[in-house]
């Protein structure tokens, strides 16, 4: 597992990313949150969004797996358990491509601040945990623009897993990674699957310039830090309401 995870971080990507950081081909900005289920990322992004909305900034919020175009296929695949690691990954990539081409790219070109709940790193961590080749995954998503900030919310496995289990009546088949045959017990399978994903995320911290956020810190304190980092790394004045 360690070697596979190490491959997820692709050194060749980094140099390209660094050079593109300086001059992006669009006036917008992209802020992304990543992390395993139960790490607190969605709560924090919601609060960031509220802060910016209340301030009147030009922004758009987008989340993983939300395109209506491929929704029926995903639902069918999951219900009938037709998905393999490859088709699972491709279907999510198709979904993401639709959102990227029809939402994210036009908004970035139109000068919006785009907030994304999960991004390509979710696919890298999750699909590699399912057995897809990291090299294949990097190519598959190579069309996606590199975020200005990627916040990685990290919580200890037990904390995150317990948060999820406490809030759900039953874990879903693919969500729990049951397709991998890790354990017959759904909760145990979920735990092992999330652990693999966590390992894969950790491997990308350096190579993909994640901003590490401690998911165990009090919500309002963590949000204060998040707002501060966004203020430092993104020129918010570009997205501020025009003064009359």
């Amino acid at each position: 597992m360690a070697t596979r995870a190490a491959e997820i971080a692709s050194p060749s990507e980094i140099s390209r990313e660094d050079s593109s950081l300086a001059r992006r081909p669009y006036p917008g900005a992209l802020v992304v949150v990543e992390g395993i289920d139960g790490s607190g990322k969605s709560t924090q992004l919601y609060l960031l969004k509220r802060w910016l909305e209340i301030g009147g900034y030009r922004l758009h919020f987008t989340e993983w797996n939300s395109s209506p175009l491929v929704k029926s296929a995903t639902r069918r695949g999951k219900q009938r358990r037709l998905l393999t690691s490859t088709t699972f990954s491709l279907l999510h990539a198709a979904d993401f491509a639709d959102r990227c081409e029809r939402q994210i790219m036009p908004l970035l070109h139109g000068g919006y601040l785009v907030l994304a709940d999960r991004y390509i790193y979710t696919a890298f961590a999750r699909d590699a945990a399912r057995g897809c080749s990291p090299h294949w995954l990097r190519n598959l998503y190579s069309f996606a623009p590199t975020p200005d900030i990627t916040f990685y919310f990290r919580a200890p496995l037990d904390v995150a897993v317990n948060r999820i289990i406490a809030g759900r009546p039953k874990l879903k088949y693919y969500e729990a990674g049951m397709d991998l045959g890790l354990s017959l017990d759904r909760t145990e399978s979920f735990r092992i699957f999330q652990e693999r994903i966590l390992t894969n995320y950790d491997q990308m911290v350096e190579t993909d310039h994640f901003v590490l956020m401690d998911g165990t810190v009090q919500v309002n304190k963590l949000q204060k830090l998040m707002r501060q980092i966004v203020g430092e790394r993104v020129d918010l004045s570009k997205f501020a309401p025009k003064k009359k």
Binding site: L69, V70, A73, T84, T87, A94, D98, H135, W136, L140
Partner: protein
């Protein structure tokens, strides 16, 4: 298929993007049957069947030839499985819906086709090959690569997606001029399909011009793919029986069938022109 390996730039490891695939390929015995990283969970020694691909544009006579080859192979005692575009249980219908809606972007469509392809490969073709069947593929990754490439998606990107696909044992390309394809298609359905004439690409308002230009672009991509992947190119403008004879000769050699004599049954006699 040795020839295609030598032709592949990935094998030389010279240019940046494809070199990784090449390194991986040389690492394992499975390399001979995959373009790059093998599909997760596939044991190549289990695949005792043969994969035979027939490529060519609409109107090149692919389906006719596959129907005839199926009968011939079955008469020789071989079990046959077929595959084709948009036939997967997973997303076949969804692609039909996307095409009808015409709201889909090129990249999403390309990825939906790749989902359709891998669903068939993993859940129908590989099991068939494990059972020793002969798989006749009515188009394969090459049409998908060509269609996406003419719409501006990078060839390296596309080859990267399909590097986990199984290499065919034989790949035939039924080559016909776009004008001939147009005549045949028009005769068959009295109209020309939106996508086969590349109307999403705004090539021309005239449907005939649009069809010819689009099919010429596809043909150009196929010429490149043919060199890269060592296609067996056949003149698709020849008689059905002539093309079929060429196909049978190559397939008989691959499968170790001695005689290549064949006359279609009464049911298929109408195809024999």
């Amino acid at each position: 298929m040795k020839k295609s390996k030598a032709n592949s730039p990935a094998k030389n490891g010279s240019n940046g993007k494809s070199s990784v695939a090449g390194e991986r390929a040389s690492r394992s015995d499975e390399s001979s049957r995959f373009y790059g990283t093998p599909l997760p969970g596939v044991k190549i020694e289990d695949l005792s069947g043969k994969l035979i691909v027939i490529e060519g544009t609409d109107g090149s006579g692919r389906s006719t030839q596959i129907t005839l080859l199926t009968e011939w192979l079955e008469s020789e005692g071989f079990a046959v499985q077929t595959m084709g575009l948009r036939r997967s249980a997973l997303v076949g219908e969804d692609i039909d819906a996307l095409l009808a809606e015409n709201a889909v972007t090129r990249l999403t469509l390309a990825l939906m086709y790749s989902t359709d392809f891998f669903d068939q490969l993993e859940r129908r073709i590989l099991p068939a090959l494990r059972s020793g069947l002969i798989v006749l593929a009515d188009r394969y990754i090459f049409t998908l690569i060509a269609r996406a490439a003419v719409r501006g998606i990078s060839r390296d990107y596309l080859h990267g997606i399909y590097e986990t696909a199984l290499k065919p044992d034989l790949t035939f390309w039924l080559n016909v001029r776009p004008e001939v394809a147009f005549d045949r298609e028009f005769k068959k359905s009295h109209t020309i399909s939106y996508w086969e004439s590349g109307r999403d690409m705004s090539l021309s308002n005239d449907l005939f011009q649009s069809f010819i230009r689009y099919q010429s672009m596809i043909k150009h991509e196929f010429e490149y793919l043919s060199r890269r992947h060592s296609f067996i190119e056949l003149d698709g403008e020849e008689n059905v029986s002539e093309v079929n004879k060429h196909l049978r000769k190559q397939i008989a050699e691959e499968l170790g069938i001695r005689g290549t004599q064949y006359h279609p049954s009464q049911a298929l006699a109408h195809l024999w022109r």
